[in-house]
């Protein structure tokens, strides 16, 4: 008898679990959907002066990579069209500025979403293609300088080379004369070039990067750093001091290689300003953008693919089965009386518009008024259906008056009263009256209070955003909810209330 129900519940659990694991393990869905990372809005202002010919501006833009997602991008001033070129790891936006302009503002805005701890943890090995040799003479000198460290393991070799930026030479140190020669190279060609050349001479993959430190700030130029591969991961190093950037620091690359992050051809760059600020972008938006980009089957069938105006409904709808599960549990496990199963759920849904306290107040107000009217109607001896019609009209009349009062005093909660479930309210009045007649006012009040309590709990449940987001991302959880409903449905033990009802029978033994 009971076996099939248990098997069905188990199957539903496994189904939900399998889909969930698949999404988390293979599609990179988050286990805790409320902590997806940080969103940063970056506004880039360029002031450009152009000659007669007009100018072209090439700007390094954030490129999507593991852990980094570009949420939105737009030009808001100074240019009509933007061409985006992909060159290796770089994404370069190119646009034209008309000629004969004095200090034209070009503004570009982008928002990126960074998964926690993912910018700085790059572990992809460098490509095998050797970078082009840079300056024969300096390279030969560099090879002599690092010759003594050739047998060190890569991480130690990396640290030894990095330390040279601050003038410290690890054992065995090269000859003093060559160190002096190297200082000359550094002065002439710059610390970044010198360090990069030394890394390459020591057989370590190194690349220059221009980018931004993601922290609330305004900067006049991008930051430059070196990325060096130590055999396991890329270390990020300040070219002037040779210090390492902590792995937790989020550095956003804009341009890889020796190129500048901004170049202007046919004009002059007068001023640059990067405004970086943390944006409280909602998790909804992030997942929306994420699934919109994916062509995976489950992502294409995600609720996030619905037009946004229809998504709102489903956020709430998906939680209603939990409310129903709770009501089943309250009735069959505890023995708590409510006016049916739908009434508390519908009340909870309408509380979202009227607000909890106003909603409850209106519910009890109309119930009491309705009860009084129902008593009076009893003396008029109306037939059943017309009598219900009168009660329905009474409820809607109350709504109208409340809405009008709300309109006069500017109370939105009263104006939203029309969203209360009027049919259910009418039936509750009738059932409340019958219950008072048959089982007494105490029992009827208990049932009314019980229903209100369940409505309140359901209201908080369906309004809890992390839960909404979880079910929206993983609608298969409804199968798990069904499994629980089935388990409650096949529970044949005592209800909590029955333990108290029958306790005298065992106490007297």
């Amino acid at each position: 008898m009971k076996k099939p129900a248990l098997w069905l519940a188990l199957f539903l659990f496994l189904f939900a679990g399998a889909l969930l694991f698949y999404r988390v393990l293979f599609l990179g869905y988050p286990l805790l959907p409320t902590a997806p990372g940080q969103t940063w809005a970056i506004s880039i202002d360029l002031y450009v002066e152009t000659g007669t010919e007009g100018a072209k501006v090439a700007l390094g833009l954030p490129a999507e990579q593991a852990g980094l997602m570009v949420v939105e991008e737009k030009i808001s001033a100074g240019a009509q069209s933007l061409d985006i070129h992909l060159e290796g790891p770089n994404r370069i936006g190119i646009w034209s500025v008309p000629g004969n302009r004095e200090k034209t503002l070009v503004n570009f805005q982008t928002a990126v979403h960074v998964k926690r701890g993912r910018l700085g943890g790059d572990t992809t090995p460098p490509s095998r293609i050797a970078p082009p040799a840079e300056g024969g003479e300096e390279e030969a000198l560099a090879k002599r300088l690092v010759a003594g460290w050739r047998n060190l393991p890569p991480p130690a070799r990396l640290r030894a080379v990095a330390a040279t930026a601050s003038g410290r030479w690890a054992d065995p140190p090269p000859e003093n004369q060559e160190i002096r020669a190297w200082s000359g190279v550094r002065e002439k060609l710059g610390g970044e070039f010198a360090l990069r050349t030394l890394f390459r001479a020591a057989d370590l993959s190194a690349r220059s990067v221009s980018g931004l430190l993601l922290t609330n700030s305004v900067v006049g130029s991008p930051l430059r750093w070196l990325e060096v591969y130590d055999g396991q991961k890329w270390e990020r190093i300040r070219p002037d001091t040779g210090e390492f950037w902590d792995r937790r620091v989020a550095l956003l690359p804009l341009m890889h290689g020796e190129r500048e992050a901004i170049r202007v051809v046919g004009g002059e760059l007068r001023e640059v300003r990067y405004v970086i600020r943390r944006e409280p972008l909602s998790a909804w938006r992030v997942y929306f953008e994420q699934t919109r980009r994916s062509e995976r089957f489950l992502d294409r069938w995600s609720l996030f693919r619905l037009p946004e105006e229809f998504q709102e409904t489903f956020r709430i709808l998906l939680l209603v089965p939990i409310g129903a599960l709770m009501i089943s549990a309250l009735r069959n496990l505890i023995g708590f009386p409510t006016f049916g199963i739908f009434m508390p759920v519908l009340m909870a849904l309408s509380f979202r518009n009227t607000g909890l306290w106003y909603g409850l107040g209106i519910f009890f107000g109309i119930l009491l008024l309705g009860y009084g009217v129902r008593r009076a109607l009893d003396k008029l001896r109306l037939l059943l259906v017309p009598r219900m019609a009168v009660l329905l009209t009474l409820v809607i009349g109350c709504f109208t008056i409340l809405a009008l009062v709300g309109g006069r005093i500017g109370l939105r909660e009263f104006m939203a009263v029309g969203l209360l479930p009027f049919v259910i309210l009418t039936m509750v009045i009738e059932r409340f009256f019958v219950l008072v007649e048959e089982a007494g006012a105490a029992a009827a009040s208990r049932t009314a209070l019980g229903s209100a309590l369940v409505s309140v709990i359901t209201y908080f449940l369906i309004s809890w955003e992390p839960l909404q987001l979880t079910f929206f991302l993983y609608p298969e959880l409804m199968a798990a909810v069904t499994a629980l409903q089935i388990l409650v449905g096949q529970y044949s033990g005592y209800r909590l209330m029955e333990l108290f009802r029958f306790r005298k029978l065992v106490a007297s033994r």
Binding site: Y494, E498, L505
Partner: protein
């Protein structure tokens, strides 16, 4: 503590609502048979076929047009009962004890004008008192004069006897005694008391009043236990026949004992309540399990089932 209490109840064989619904009602009571017990007119028709007595019906009113036929159907009878065919919990029932020029006099002394009485019937027809709210029929039935056996422990009204039978075996019984609080109605929810009846001796035992165990009637002050119920064997047999009559494996039969005609079947209930356990201080579940373990041959006739029950449930 909760688990310990649950274990104790289980050991005592107390039946809970969930188990009653899942293991007995859903398992043994087909939905198709419900209409038979929910409608008193249908119940009476099938009871007659099996030789189970019910109070005579004078008139079944199915439409408003038939209301004018009341006088003719009643003839010169001065007392009768108006009840809905599909009513539950005693709602909508009026006991008429006299007819006067100005109208019908109810047992509680209220006088219904013709117009007021017509309204009551119209209410019944529109389904106010019916179980599912569907349209209903009104019945004019003979008034039962209760046997005086329970007079000392009854406040007005008619006491009725509830026997629960499982697979045609009577397993537990009680008599419901009206009180002032219940307004003369034999309804436990309204405050009537329920006294358990020992199946084998047919004598009342302890009683339940609003979930409390009591030994005396709250209004008359007389002890409720030790009263021998007349026609006990006959009533057990009626209850045992209910299974063949209705096709329901688990049901409650409500009977009244008329002073002149003996026991009448009043109505059947496909979802009998659990308070009977408190009235008897006994668990139903244990008895239901005993019935399941009973030898096959006792199930062949109602008589053999009653014989087994009397022997077993002492």
């Amino acid at each position: 503590m909760i688990l310990a209490l649950a274990r104790k109840l289980k050991e005592a064989g107390i039946l809970g609502m969930n188990r009653r619904n899942a293991s007995y009602i859903m398992k043994w009571n087909p939905r198709s048979a419900f209409s038979l017990v929910d409608d008193k007119v249908l119940t009476r028709e099938v009871a007659e076929k099996y030789g189970v007595a019910t109070p005579p019906i004078f008139l079944v009113i199915e439409s408003h047009g038939q209301i004018v036929g009341i006088e003719e159907a009643l003839g010169d009878r001065r007392e009768f009962v108006l009840k809905p065919a599909r009513g539950s919990g005693g709602s909508g029932i009026i006991l008429v004890v006299d007819r006067r020029k100005e109208g019908f006099v109810s047992q509680s002394g209220e006088v219904y004008s013709r117009e007021g009485f017509t309204y009551q019937i119209a209410d019944i027809l529109s389904g106010i008192h019916s179980l599912g709210g569907q349209e209903d029929r009104a019945i004019l039935q003979a008034l039962v004069h209760p046997d005086p056996v329970f007079a000392a422990v009854t406040h007005q009204g008619v006491p009725d006897i509830r026997i629960i039978s499982y697979l045609g075996v009577p397993v537990m019984a009680m008599v419901r005694l009206p009180t002032r609080a219940s307004d003369g109605k034999a309804n436990l929810h309204r405050g009537a008391i329920g006294a358990g009846i020992d199946i084998s001796t047919g004598k009342t035992v302890t009683a339940v009043h609003r979930a409390e165990i009591v030994s005396h009637h709250p209004d008359t002050g007389n002890p409720v236990s030790g009263i021998p119920v007349p026609f006990w064997d006959k009533m057990l047999l009626m209850a045992a026949r209910a299974m063949e009559m209705t096709g329901l494996g688990y049901l409650g039969m409500d009977l009244v004992i008329d002073r002149e005609h003996g026991p009448f079947l009043l109505e059947l209930n496909a979802r009998p309540g659990l308070a009977i356990q408190i009235a008897n201080r006994k668990g139903l579940w244990r008895r239901l399990e005993e019935v399941e373990r009973a030898p096959r041959e006792i199930f062949s006739t109602p008589e053999s089932r009653v014989e087994w029950a009397v022997k077993t449930f002492g």
